[in-house]
């Protein structure tokens, strides 16, 4: 337990629409340091909701999420921002890179809210871009990059500053098979160097290429390939 980076404890999420939507109905699992976990499920299974809760972008209706030992329910909105700045990295399906900026500055912005100086941020960003194989595109505007290259830059941005956990939301969703395979390979490589990564995907094939698979359906965990580690 002490080695767990993320704990999701009996989490429910209800959206107050009419009728109310129960996106998650009591989900529990934990991610240990160095894990590479995929959360797979069809559309509407609650994957995105789970990612938002794990990423502290939203709060559960009930239950608890603990990131790096900090229980989300005890933190203010400002504290959650701090938690995200220092402990969580995100990779999005739409990349969410900022236009009009170079690849280097996009990655450096991954540390923008950590209080590091611009020079420090750029130095760390360069190292990270080299790690993801984008060392030759440092000063390139992101609009000039291919989809695969953009996702590499986005991955470097999530990695920069070595957060406790990286949450990737359909990272291959906007990529062709070749680029998709390359990103999966990159994720595996980063995990080998010590990064803790949770990948959300609807693609069962990709999900099953990872060491641990958590299946989600109708807001409940259907199966967990490492159920021993789950807190239930």
């Amino acid at each position: 337990m002490s080695d767990s980076v993320l704990e999701v404890v009996d989490v429910c999420k209800e959206y107050p629409t009419t009728p109310p939507v129960h996106a998650l109905r009591g989900v529990s699992f934990s991610v240990a340091r160095g894990d590479l976990v995929s959360v797979v499920g069809p559309s509407g299974s609650g994957k995105s909701t789970l990612l938002h809760l794990m990423g502290t972008l939203d709060r559960p209706t009930s239950g608890e999420v603990v990131v790096s030992g900090y229980p989300v329910s005890e933190l203010s909105d400002r504290d959650l921002s701090s938690l995200r700045a220092h402990h969580i990295g995100f990779v999005f399906q739409q990349f969410h890179l900022l236009n009009g900026m170079t690849a280097l500055d996009n990655v450096a912005d991954g540390l923008l809210y950590t209080g590091r100086t611009l020079q420090e941020r750029r130095e760390l960003a360069e190292i990270e871009l080299l790690r993801v194989g984008m060392g030759h595109r440092l000063t390139q505007q992101t609009t000039k990059l291919s989809g695969g290259e953009r996702q590499r830059v986005a991955t470097a941005r999530a990695m920069v500053g070595s957060p406790s956990i990286i949450l990737a939301d359909e990272p291959t969703g906007n990529l062709d098979t070749k680029n998709s395979d390359a990103i999966v390979e990159l994720i595996e490589k980063l995990n080998e160097t010590g990064a803790t990564i949770v990948v959300i995907t609807h693609n069962r094939e990709i999900a099953e290429s990872f060491p641990r698979v958590v299946g989600l359906r109708d807001g409940l965990i259907e199966h967990d390939s490492a159920s021993v580690g789950a807190v239930r």
């Binding site: 938002h52 990423g55 972008l57 939203d58 030992g69 900090y70 229980p71 933190l75 909105d77 400002r78 504290d79 921002s81 701090s82 938690l83 995200r84 700045a85 220092h86 969580i88 995100f90 999005f92 739409q94 969410h96 900022l98 236009n99 009009g100 900026m101 912005d109 991954g110 923008l112 809210y113 950590t114 209080g115 100086t117 611009l118």
Partner: protein, 399 residues
Amino acid sequence: MTSTLERSELHVSDMARTATIGMRTRRLRTVLSALGIMIGIAAMVGVLGLSESSKSELLAQLERLGTNLLTVEAGGGIGAGTGTLPDEASAMISRIGPVESTSTISAVQANVYKNDLVDEGQTAGITVQAVDYSLLDSLAGTVADGQWIDSATGSYPTVVLGSVAAERLGIDGVLGTQQVWLGDQWFTVIGVLDTFELAPDLDRAALISLEAADVYLDHDNEPTRVLVRVDPGQIDQVGTVLAATANPEFPEEVEVARPTDALEAQEAADDTLTALFLGLGAVALLVGGVGIANVMVISVLERRGEIGLRRALGATRRNIAGQFLGEALLLAVIGGVGGVILGVAATALYASIEGWEILVPSIAVIGGLVAALLIGGIAGLYPAIRASRLSPTEALHTT
């Protein structure tokens, strides 16, 4: 859990950098939205600068001309017509204590022509006035070319022309040999004057000495106007007794005026225009502010994805609000600085064309910049708050 959470932190310089992202990626929109503020500020700075410059010009003009001149003129009463003042009017006025000097003008019933062949009806609207030698000093007038009449030249048929009269008679320089046909006599032109700021009607006159009028035109020299220079401290007191002194029998037929009042009245009219233009500038500024607010609201809608990303990267609500407020302020400051430069340039250009001293009141410059900042702040506040209240999950789901 015992470890304390490191705070999310954004340096001021980084905050400023994030505030420029919008304008770096949307340059045309930045220029257009700053333009509204720029026009407003330029109008206000320009109007204040021009009014200040022209005011200083007026003060200099009044200083030069002296405000202590009063004119006493016949006419004004019922059935007065083209009356004259009593012969002794000038002497009587001189006896008033605070009067420093007097100068007499007597309108001559004669016309002046370029030569004796010109048709009698073509007078070109030029009057003939018999005047004291002291007239030029009394009116603070200046000679453009040639010389003024003095006791030596005044006893001969000589004439000095007002600026407009000279132009109408086709005389642009004094050679000493030109003559004009004045009251069936040849008069030699010995001088041409500059414009009289205190008596524009004399610009259209041919001026001869009282002596010449008497000798050559058999004019009775009854004064029609007396120019009075008064002790500056007692102008009002002298003004009240002048009519009765000049014509004790019919004081109501005497008009007393102060020529510099006309200049001041003109300036007062300019003040009204200044207020009008300032009002227009304020409206332009307001419209500019609405433009910025509009652009910022659109910008927040367009950049929801970016807002979501920044929240995910650890930005606090305050960081997001600061970024958008900073952007609005920056737009306004660009407009404000541009407006001040434009306003000062316009003032400098116009004032130098008019030959005025270039004066831009610092209150206009500072006020312009403060107004721009204030408007930018107000315009950016609502969009900034809106951006900061956006839920990160919602924001991320917009592409």
